[in-house]
Amino acid sequence: MRLLTTIGKYFVLMSSVFAKPVKLRIFIKRVLEEVEQIGMDSIWIVSIVSIFMGAVLTLQVAINFEAPYIPRYLIGLSARDTMILEFSSTIICLILAGKVGSNIASEIGTMRITEQIDALEIMGINSANYLILPKITAAIISFPVLNLLSIILGIAGGYLVSAATGVVSVYDYIYGLNYLFVPFYVTYSLIKICVFSVIITSVSSFHGYYTFGGALEVGKSSTRAVVYSIILILLFNLILTQLLLT
């Protein structure tokens, strides 16, 4: 019953979020600010995680593909497909749920407990639309860019480790990268990250928006936002994979 009430509240909030902004110019300005906060500020963490993931992935595959009848170029292929299909969308979003999600929930939660959201409402502003829609829009714009960046850097990480350690020759690695490439995998990855971006921003905003109490509750909302975002990402990862790849 409580779950149904929460889901109901979520969709009621979303019906307020997806309304026409009061002024388009201000909305665009807000979106650009959020692109900086949600997207640009996440570049460094996405870059570091992707390079190391690509490098470790290549090492592990190389160690496990030691049988002489397995072509070495499959190491490059595995690194490429794993980065595109799973790591650069799902794993990156799980990390972003922690970084961006907790940030959104605590920001909106603090605005709630300090009556800043009430102040917006009293001014005659649709606070949900003003605060949340720019975040969702900014995430939809910036997350796919982060996804592509992650794919490129992950593959580059694998290249660096193969060149540095020689677990696979650079020639084999690059040959594997080009071998049996399925362009739809990139589309699939982009579709997934768009869905995940909406999940992270809307779920985190929801938990922040309905924060009541004090600083302790802001912390709890922030934790809930991350936990529920991660669970929903994993659930939708399964659903989207079933729908798009099988």
Partner: protein, 251 residues
């Protein structure tokens, strides 16, 4: 004028507002006073629509508010200025941006016109050279004054103040009270101030509503408060030793 008719509000089993009736006139500082937990903040938030009463009506110059659709409510709210207990300034924006915020959203003025209005409002609340400071960089009293400046930036017809003096020293509190009073008279605003500070009542109050256990227990003018024989009101007004002595001396 704001009219509150037969308003009831509960939270679960707790009946917080019990059949409240009140009229708040323009050009007056209308005070809602009462002990902590008496229901005065719930009444204020019900009037501005942050709480929805179960029964009753609220009229803003004859316009029904509670059952109005959200679009109409937002139109009425654009005529409302609100000073929150904690100021509720947007912490990510400077003083200037805070006051310009409603102007950006609801006017088509040029940047120069908006800046002129911001400076006028800041001057009106006696703040100079603070345009580019953030709320965290100014004192509590200044935050309250900036909050008042933001509330009057769109020339509101109604001004609501929720405990505007809380956390302020007595001298700053008097300045805020006088400011609210001056603005109310100057712009003929219907002002409602929610407080439990008797100094504020004596400094600025024109009409007083005493809320006790969720009921509008007593209504009257500032002078009437001392002559009332209402036991609960007297217990509230003359709670401090100083007030008891004043009452004794004045007979």
């Amino acid at each position: 004028m704001i009219e509150v008719r037969n308003v009831n509000k509960s939270f679960g089993d707790k009946h917080v507002l019990k059949d409240i009736n009140a009229t708040f006139k323009p050009g007056n500082v209308n005070m809602i006073i009462g002990r902590s937990g008496s229901g005065k903040t719930v009444l204020l938030k019900s009037i501005i629509g942050l709480h929805v009463p179960e029964t009753g009506d609220i009229f803003f110059d004859g316009r029904e508010f509670i059952r109005a659709n959200m679009k109409f409510k937002r139109e009425i709210r654009q005529e409302i200025g609100m000073v929150f207990q904690g100021g509720a300034l947007f912490t990510s924006q400077t003083v200037e941006e805070n006051i310009m915020f409603p102007l950006n959203l609801f006017t088509n003025w040029s940047k120069a016109e908006k800046l002129k209005r911001v400076n006028f409002c800041l001057e009106r609340v006696n703040i100079q050279n603070a345009n580019h400071l953030y709320p965290s960089e100014i004192s509590g009293g200044m935050q309250k004054r900036v909050s008042i400046a933001r509330a009057i930036s769109l020339n509101p017809k109604y001004l609501f103040c929720d405990e505007p003096n809380s956390g302020l020293d007595p001298q700053t509190a008097i300045l805020i009270d006088r400011l609210i009073k001056e603005i109310t008279i100057e712009y003929d605003i219907t002002t409602i101030v929610n407080t439990h500070d008797m100094n504020s009542v004596m400094e600025a109050g024109d009409s007083i509503n005493y809320i006790h256990e969720g009921q509008n227990w007593w209504q009257g003018g500032r002078e009437d408060i001392f002559n009332s024989d209402n036991i609960e009101l007297n217990q509230f007004v003359f709670a401090s030793e100083l007030c008891k002595k004043i009452k004794k001396v004045s007979g």
